[in-house]
Amino acid sequence: MTKNHIVENLRKQIEKWKDDVKAEKVGHVIEVFDGIAKISGLSDIKASEMVSFPNGEAGVTLNLEEDSIGVIILGDFTKIREGDEVKSTGKILSVPVGNAQIGRVLNALGEPIDGKGAIKTEKNSPIEKVAPGVITRLSVSQAVQTGIKAIDALIPIGRGQRELIIGDRQTGKTAIAIDTILNQKGQDMICVYVSIGQKDSKLRKLQTRLEEGGAMDYTIIVSAGSSESAALSYIAPYTGVTIAENFMDQGKDVLIIYDDLSKHAVAYREISLLLRRPPGREAFPGDVFYLHSKLLERACRRNKEYGGGSITALPIVETQSGDVTAYIPTNVISITDGQMFLETDLFYKGIRPAVNVGLSVSRVGSAAQIKAMKKVSGTLKLDLAQFRELEAFSQFGSDLDESTKNQLERGKRAVEVLKQPQYAPMATEDQVVVLYALTKGFMDDIAIDKIKTFEEGLIEYTRRNAKTFYKEVTTEKMWTDAGEAELVKVMGDFKQSFTK
């Protein structure tokens, strides 16, 4: 482009410009500290409206008081000084949403932070929205396949459900979430991973893992790192769900993971205390329940008349030394439709995923399980509960009757079968085959340390030889007598060659 061209273009643009002077409401910074600013003036401001500071930083109003307003600053607050002029924008805090966001890493304001350039989005959406009402909803009936046997069989998750992942640090909470994302390949699901107050190194590792597994083709990461201000940690989950809602509005199914909500509550506590809101239990403000309930209520499944689509939420909460009766864990447990409880003891015993089957429940997910899975997993939970009880008893004496012994042996094998390495999601049909073999006693005389090899071989062999069974389970979601007979025969054959 020549110089003349540029000048010509510029002149055209300037000619097109129409100046409109507007009366602006302005306020002045009274005080600023720790990411919070107190501002005088701005008499007509709304709650959670954006304000702009002279150096371009944005803020959001949280406290509207008689003579002043309390604002959280989204960004660097060190350049803001007392007496600075603050302008209201008239806009409620909103973030850009669009399909181009898939595969990207965004910050809490929806801006890309992965160095892959700007994202073209068409619209902005306010991050605070009222959750869909009763008439727009549909009950959960379609499964989310996590690919993890212990979860898909015992605590199944349905599309539109909210299932809490709870446990101490280092028990594999994030691992379950990541495995679930990895398993959504080809399942027509868009995933949003919201990282709240996590180390950037962890996020980077996770992103690389998702890229390697090809999961970034359908995943968006929203991150508010631990070095960023509490204000960004506070809005990150809302940004995530707003991005997810954009896809739900298009009738798509979305899976959203909040990692983790305890850090979110801590960020909100920090903001609230700085804004001088009265502290309550554990110094959390009074509305910390609402903070999470309004977020998790936005996960739902909509009926056809309202466009279909769903948001499945997997919030993560970290407990301190297994205490689920702390404030935030009990709150989130009561909001969600069930929880999977991970335990340190189980983790170090080598039972991974370290899901405590007794304490974990899924209140609505069983409606989403396919019939074949229901059939094989129906008694598994009860069997495992009985096994744990017997195991405790059997430590006192060795004189056990035959049936008790059998039950113990079966239980040990069940525990072994439910172990699963990380990043190794299993297809539903394979899970059905393995659990069928377990519940029908095909594994009873296999040594415990050989269970894993048996399982692997069995899957490979049946996949090749029990084609009718596989086809039935894949298409009809249940086997017929003919399919079952074929499976039993194939399993018998395999076992014979295995034990030889």
Binding site: L10, Q13, I14, W17, D19, V21, K22, A23, E24, K25, V26, G27, S40, G41, L42, S43, E66, D67
Partner: protein, 135 residues
């Protein structure tokens, strides 16, 4: 004990002194000062007076505007501005305060309460810059 806000004190003073005059007013004012001193609120007297002024202005339909410009404004323009402010804020009276500032490139800026109507050249250039950047 709940603290009494500056707003409440100003309102109370306004309501108790409204339409009073002579000895009665004097007694009320004396008592007010005594009460404020007892409640250790004399330190806030500046804020209270500010609030009181605002209350009186509001009730008597008066607005105070600060007009800044580079040079002094001509009489004709002043009356135009006064007329504009009266119409915009729907008041009977407008008290104008003028200020000149050498830093201005040109144009004027009107401040009424927390509202600013910025018609300076500088802000116009800024708006043009924003327009060119976004388009």
């Amino acid at each position: 004990m709940a603290t009494i806000s500056v707003n409440n004190i100003a309102r109370a003073i306004y309501e108790s002194t409204n339409e009073k005059s002579g000895v009665e007013l004097e007694v009320i004012l004396k008592n007010t000062v005594k009460l404020l001193s007892e409640k250790h609120a004399l330190g806030k007297s500046k804020e209270i007076l500010n609030k009181l002024q605002k209350l009186i202005d509001k009730n008597e339909e008066v607005v105070r505007a600060k007009i800044s410009s580079k040079a002094e404004i001509k009489k004709g323009v002043v009356s135009e501005i006064e007329h504009f402010i009266k119409k915009r804020y729907k008041v009977k009276n407008a008290i104008l305060e003028f200020e000149t500032d050498d830093k201005f490139l040109g144009g004027i800026k009107i401040e009424v309460g927390d509202e600013i109507i910025d018609m300076t050249l500088k802000s116009k250039i800024n708006r043009l810059k924003n327009y060119l950047v976004t388009n």
